[in-house]
Symmetry: C2
Subunit: 283 residues, 2 copies
């Protein structure tokens, strides 16, 4: 499954929406807040900034020192919560130890929560009330991939490995809402290979290079690899051993050019959606 | 597993808490809002009222005509949201067709949402931030039962049949948080019996009398029956065929006197918790 090509397609649709909003005098605004100087975070933020500009968004990067206190960071967030030019607020994770990530998530106005990590938005997703509700970008992007490749979900056995707020939990909610039979596996799961071999659709988000091999996968399964890992040669690889699993799987997302590009594309699309929803509320 | 005996034990602990609050001049207040005259709802509300009085709570039943509009009902809820003598608000379901249940759920102040159905509380549960967070009473009651019978959950295969907001979805979140490997099955699940036979712990919430038989259950499984169904003779029975499953299961909750009593006991306990949390916030 070619995430990069699909992302390019979605980007075209998003740009059209940006154009329509421009005709109404609205420029969707995304602020990315970066605390400290973590090298990986700096790269991610730069990529987001570049893409946002390319899409014609109002892209703001707010850099803050890693000595900032939790309450100071919350004050900065409040500033953007009430700024009408900003429709989407993203705080780049991880945060320094003195700051509780959950408090930060809670501080973002739910209607500007482009990551979909605010518990109000997660709760809406859980009960399938997703109208005008931002959803975590990685699982949302995976749904777009599955949909584009006409993978039917209703009644299918889906196994998700990983239960993070960023991937596993919202992914499970999306798939239950799509009528799949969903199993959430994780580090405490026993006999994991037996569990994964049952899956019609296997979604792997463990963060360990080449964690899943051919023996762990059912013949003809759909395999989605959320990993962004480094192998012994420091090459970017996934959680799935692509070469061994490829012949056995009906569909398999590669790393790179699989889930990764769809995540950032979904972030852009969702920024635009937040601007649209905001203009509908205010219009 | 004897839900009734366990409920009586929990009630004693709750009463002690009520006494302690009384010493501080606080009486936990529960309002149950009943719209219309559905006979089953009237019985449920009467039972809750009786139990709340027995526990020494300030029990209010607010009866409203089934012609009430959504906005009128929301106004009544707002009245209790700001009433300092009321710590817990429960709107008895179902509601008449002109009222959207989700709008009503959203109108209840999250800190008085004793049913735990507000998406903010569901989202907090999903991300395992449950301090001072009300959780749906039936799944919470089931956790109390599993805990009382020393059923270990970590790494266990749990299958939940049912994906309602009232039982299945919060149950899944609680169990994932307790390190179980959780499968959510439902009406679209194919080969359900194969799925349920894999379960170390099987939780059945489908609302169909005697839906699960011995052939659907693994030898030595723990089976929790959430059903409250009527058989052909109008007798109260569960979703599980008790007689056939009993010899095969290591533990099995009966109906009646299983999950049912624990639900109402949890409702009382959670009303008291809401009053405690409120006094901590204000004290």
């Amino acid at each position: 499954m070619d995430g990069k090509a699909l992302a390019a397609k979605v980007d075209v649709a998003t740009k059209n929406k940006v154009q329509k909003l421009a005709d109404q005098g609205i420029v969707p605004g995304l602020v990315v807040i970066l605390v400290g100087e973590d090298p990986a975070s700096q790269i991610y933020v730069r990529n987001k900034e570049r893409r946002a500009k390319k899409m014609g968004l109002n892209s703001v990067v707010r850099k803050l020192p890693d000595t900032i206190s939790e309450s100071e960071l919350i004050e900065v967030i409040h500033e953007y919560n009430v700024n009408p030019k900003i429709h989407a607020i993203l705080v780049q994770l991880p945060l320094p130890a003195q700051i509780d990530e959950f408090h930060i998530t809670m501080a973002i106005a739910p209607e500007k929560d482009v990551d979909g990590f605010h518990p109000l938005n997660l709760g809406r997703l859980l009960v399938n009330k997703v109208a005008k509700t931002p959803v975590a970008c990685t699982p949302q992007g995976i749904m777009t991939i599955l949909n584009a490749y006409h993978i039917s979900l209703s009644g299918k056995k889906v196994v998700i490995i990983g239960r993070s707020t960023i991937v596993g939990k919202p992914m499970a909610a999306l798939l239950v809402n799509a009528n799949a039979t969903v199993t959430i596996a994780h580090s405490h799961t026993r006999h994991l290979s037996e569990v994964t071999r049952e899956a019609d659709i296997l979604i792997v988000a463990v963060g360990i290079a080449h964690f899943i091999h051919a023996k762990d996968v059912k013949e003809g399964a759909v395999v989605v690899d959320v990993g962004m890992d480094r192998d012994a040669d420091n090459k970017l690889v996934g959680d799935v051993d692509f070469e061994s699993v490829k012949p056995k799987a009906a569909f398999l997302t590669p790393v790179p050019k699989g889930v990764g590009p769809m995540t950032i594309t979904t972030l852009m699309a969702q920024t635009v959606s937040l601007a649209e929803w905001s203009s509908e509320e205010n219009g």
